[in-house]
């Protein structure tokens, strides 16, 4: 899934469109997909997403990833159909997922992360009134962009490890260790964010007193030292 692991935008027609306009479009398409069950509507959104992705990246360079996305969608549709014995429901569910993912990928592929974060930061300012911190929201988006490729890589490593041990790759044996690694990593990441003074600026976590600012990741660094 190269589209997920490459976060640097290339030149293309969508690159010049302001990030705010792209985000508004994504939200509008999301609402449309959520309220509509029409195959025509969802299919159209999926088509628009595909075209947007092609516009964001030269299709001949990303054709494999694009085909992979639609192939996964097809497999999931068939699987759901077998489970539910309801072709219409299965098709709608998968179309909805694809229709939401492809335009989002197009935005990611055509927007520099810092531009995206600045836009989120600006858009989230009014939320300060209801107690949400725009900085924290922007950091959440940044971490998502930053760590999705790492997660994909870790999943690939786990899958390779299964193959190396003569096992057929399966979802559950990859998901469980991946989840455990994510939790382990999230603790260290939280410590790193504290150590780099993020909360000293936002004061989102009280640091006064003798409470532990962030739960220690390990009693004495056992797993981390062994990594």
């Amino acid at each position: 899934m190269t589209l997920l692991t490459d976060t640097q935008p290339r030149a293309g027609p969508l690159r010049a469109v302001p990030a705010s306009a792209k985000l508004v479009t994504i939200v509008a398409l999301g609402v449309l997909c959520a309220v509509s069950a029409s195959g025509w509507v969802l299919g159209s959104v999926g088509l628009v997403g595909t075209l947007a992705l092609v516009a964001a990246r030269p299709v001949w360079r990303r054709l494999g990833s694009l085909v992979a996305w639609w192939a996964v969608a097809l497999v999931v549709t068939v699987g759901l159909q077998l489970l539910t014995r309801d072709a219409a429901t299965a098709t709608t569910s998968v179309l909805r997922m694809v229709a939401l993912c492809l335009p989002a990928l197009a935005v990611m592929a055509s927007t520099a992360p810092e531009e995206l974060l600045d836009t989120v930061l600006r858009a989230a300012r009014p939320l300060r009134r209801v107690g949400l911190r725009p900085d924290t929201l922007a950091l959440t988006v940044a971490l998502t962009i930053r760590f999705v490729p790492e997660l994909v890589r870790q999943a690939e490593t786990l899958r390779d490890a299964q193959r190396a041990r003569g096992l057929r790759p399966a979802v559950l044996p990859v998901t469980v260790p991946l989840l455990v690694r994510c939790l382990d990593r999230s603790r260290t990441l939280a410590e790193a964010i504290v150590a780099r003074s993020f909360f000293d600026r936002t004061a989102a976590i009280p640091l006064a007193g003798h409470d532990v600012a962030v739960p220690p990741s390990r009693p004495t660094g056992t797993a981390q030292e062994e990594r």
């Binding site: 692991t5 490459d6 976060t7 640097q8 520099a112 992360p113 810092e114 974060l117 950091l139 940044a142 971490l143 962009i145 930053r146 760590f147 490729p149 790492e150 890589r153 003569g166 990593r185 260290t188 990441l189 410590e191 790193a192 964010i193 504290v194 150590a195 780099r196 003074s197 993020f198 000293d200 600026r201 640091l207 006064a208 007193g209 003798h210 409470d211 532990v212 600012a213 962030v214 220690p216 390990r218 009693p219 004495t220 660094g221 056992t222 981390q224 030292e225 062994e226 990594r227």
Partner: protein
């Protein structure tokens, strides 16, 4: 003047177990090494000094400040390099990540850009400025993480296993970079060559090495004698942990690789060329580099 690191009657417990117990430690040297087995308390000691872990009892001071109560002030003076640099790079793009700490400290944009450019040039990684962090190699991530810590100009940097994920060439490069840093450095590591100054490059010597065992400081000396003490400790631990390996042990049933045919796997005899385990109680081999 270098900050003074002080610990008095400090204990840290986790899950009912004491993971660190230090009666008294005062350190103001420029280069301080910390060695010990996995789980001996090295990472906890570093985390205490940065306020990431609070002591259950006792007193920790960094330049006279309590790292938990005065966390904001301590983190202005102390930088932390985590074992896996990927864990501390939080922004998707390298230049943004290096600017992250400055932004959090309220440094104005123009000054921020100047300092980011300067630190990138200092480490020779200007070409990485616009790269996605996820596409960096391990060595590049290490340099980016270090640049991101040093850009805020801390007086002290805590390194947790800085060469743990690096190949030999990158480790040598790290030793070179460390030698050029005008900061106090506390380095928890298994890389004894780094502490002994025997990496083959003109690195500066460590002034002091602490040896931790089971959460306690068991040796505190100059690198030479401290590393000898650590090697002896490791050898004793190795000998105590070596399982008895004798020919009268029952055979172990094993399965050959995926074909379903069972075979008997017998422990090899002591005479086997593959068997390098010591006899029970026999001391494990000692390295000689730092002796």
């Amino acid at each position: 003047m270098r900050p003074v690191l002080e610990l008095d009657d400090v204990t840290v417990r986790h899950d009912g177990r004491t993971v660190l117990r230090i009666e008294h430690l005062v350190a103001d040297e420029r280069r301080i090494g910390v060695v010990g087995a996995n789980g001996s308390g090295k990472s906890t000691l570093l985390r205490l000094l940065d306020g990431l872990v609070a002591p259950d009892t006792g007193r920790v001071r960094v330049a006279g400040l309590d790292p938990v109560r005065d966390g904001r002030e301590v983190r202005r003076r102390v930088g932390f390099c985590f074992q896996d640099p990927a864990d501390q790079i939080v922004m998707p793009v390298v230049a943004d990540d290096i600017a992250f700490g400055l932004k959090n400290r309220g440094v104005p944009t123009a000054e921020r850009d100047r300092r980011v450019a300067a630190v990138l040039a200092r480490f020779g990684i200007e070409h990485l400025a616009g790269r996605a962090a996820a596409t960096l190699s391990g060595g590049e991530k290490q340099m980016v993480a270090l640049a991101a810590v040093l850009v805020v100009e801390p007086a002290t940097v805590l390194f947790d296993e800085p060469t743990g994920t690096l190949d030999l060439a990158r480790s040598l490069r790290f030793a070179q970079v460390l030698a050029g840093l005008d900061v106090q450095a506390v380095v928890a590591t298994h890389d004894l060559d780094l502490l002994a100054g025997s990496t083959g490059h003109p690195v500066d010597r460590f002034d002091r090495v602490l040896v931790l065992d089971d959460g306690q400081i068991v040796a505190d000396d100059a690198p030479g004698p401290a590393l000898v003490a650590y090697r002896e400790l490791a050898a004793r631990t190795c000998a105590a942990q070596t399982p008895p390996l004798t020919s009268d042990r029952p055979p172990v049933e094993g399965r050959s690789s995926g074909r379903g045919t069972k075979q008997q796997v017998r422990p090899s005899s002591r005479a086997s060329s593959l068997d390098v385990s010591p006899e029970p109680g026999e001391p494990c081999a000692l390295g000689t580099e730092a002796r």
